[in-house]
């Protein structure tokens, strides 16, 4: 399994988020930031987790709500960065 497998990446990210916050029945496309229960501590934790777990470097231009707004968006961001690193 690797970051090439979208469902594997989504599982890891979903598990991390479920351990961090208490959202009932978190859907992969659910907007975390619209839920109102995430804060800057969570954003720091999520970006740090993505950098360490998947070995991707998050630049200033990557720090955008669109890249981290949901489980799916974060997994897609990891896939894009991993593909860039591999190319």
């Amino acid at each position: 399994m690797s970051t090439n497998d979208p469902s594997y990446t989504r599982d890891i990210i979903r598990n991390f988020i479920n351990r961090s916050i208490n959202i009932d029945r978190l859907r992969d496309d659910e907007n975390l930031f619209e839920s109102g229960i995430v804060n800057s501590l969570f954003a720091v934790q999520l970006t740090t987790f993505v950098e360490r777990k998947f070995g991707v470097e998050i630049g200033m231009e990557d720090l955008d709500i669109e890249n981290f707004k949901s489980v799916s968006a974060t997994a897609e961001f990891v896939a894009r960065k991993s593909a860039l690193r591999a190319s």
């Binding site: 208490n22 229960i37 804060n39 800057s40 970006t47 740090t48 360490r52 709500i65």
Partner: protein, 266 residues
């Protein structure tokens, strides 16, 4: 930092200032993830806007001072007595108190007309409304200065009167405390209690996860202030809440409270 206002941060030790520096850099870095309008600042740009110091005297040149020390009268009181000697007479003090009366704070200074409560809500850069408290002697001019500062921060104040706990914490802490009693009595799990509030009342967060986010030690101290102020048993801190604090289970920041947080320090 995000609004271009230069600031001086004072804390009691270099270790705490180091921690604040890291926290501020992290919060500013991820601000664009939380808000589309937030600027993207490099670490050196952020650090150029803030001075970190352990000397309260370094605030002598500030236009406005926001105090946010621990919610304990015996800690707050000497801080205000010193600030009153240090700051020029025209400078206003914004007390980011969560329960202690603004009138009581103003009473230990020589400028009670220039002390105003400014209860910022967490996460501060995402919540655009601030509970502004008018103490018994707070002047209209001071309220105007506070509102101008909030406008610079793209925030709006709701001005309320002054009794301990004001509006927000006088009500919310009864909610959180009673939720802790319900949990202690074994009526429901923490998740069930919070789910009732979220799914039945459409609250964004339940009372127990809110308590975990604020910090159970802070909630306990605020309840103690409310109890001591009103002598009303409805503010009696739930024994389980006190026991959890004594056991070091203070919520998110310590990794365990009503919930377990396995990502602390990740």
């Amino acid at each position: 930092m995000l609004h271009g206002i230069r600031a001086i941060a004072v804390d009691t030790s270099e270790k705490l200032l180091d921690s604040a520096r890291v926290g501020i850099l992290q919060a500013v870095r991820v601000a664009p993830v939380l808000s589309k309008s937030a600027p993207r600042l490099a670490p050196d740009e952020t650090l150029a806007r803030i001075i970190f110091t352990t000397r309260l005297e370094d605030l002598a040149g500030c236009d406005f001072i926001v105090e946010s020390v621990t919610e304990d009268w015996f800690i707050k009181k000497p801080v205000y007595e010193r600030l009153d000697r240090i700051a020029p007479a025209a400078v206003c003090f914004g007390a980011n108190t969560s329960c202690i009366s603004v009138t009581r704070i103003g009473g230990v200074t020589s400028r009670p007309d220039k002390v105003v409560g400014m209860h910022f809500m967490n996460p501060v850069h995402m919540v655009n409304t601030v509970e502004v408290i008018r103490g018994h002697h707070t002047s209209s001019e001071t309220l105007a200065v506070a509102n101008d500062l909030l406008a610079e921060l793209d925030k709006e104040g709701i001005v309320v009167g002054d009794l301990p706990g004001f509006v927000s914490n006088r009500i919310s802490h009864v909610f959180m405390n009673e939720a802790a009693f319900v949990f202690q009595d074994g009526l429901a799990t923490a998740a069930q209690i919070d789910s009732i509030f979220k799914r039945c009342f459409s609250h964004k967060m339940g009372p127990l996860e809110t308590a975990d986010l604020i910090g159970l030690d802070t909630v306990m101290r605020s309840l103690d202030v409310l109890y001591d102020s009103f002598h009303d048993p409805k503010f009696r801190c739930c024994p389980l809440l006190r026991k959890m604090v004594e056991a070091g289970e203070c919520g998110r920041k310590s990794g365990r409270g009503f919930y377990v947080y396995s990502n602390v320090g990740c």
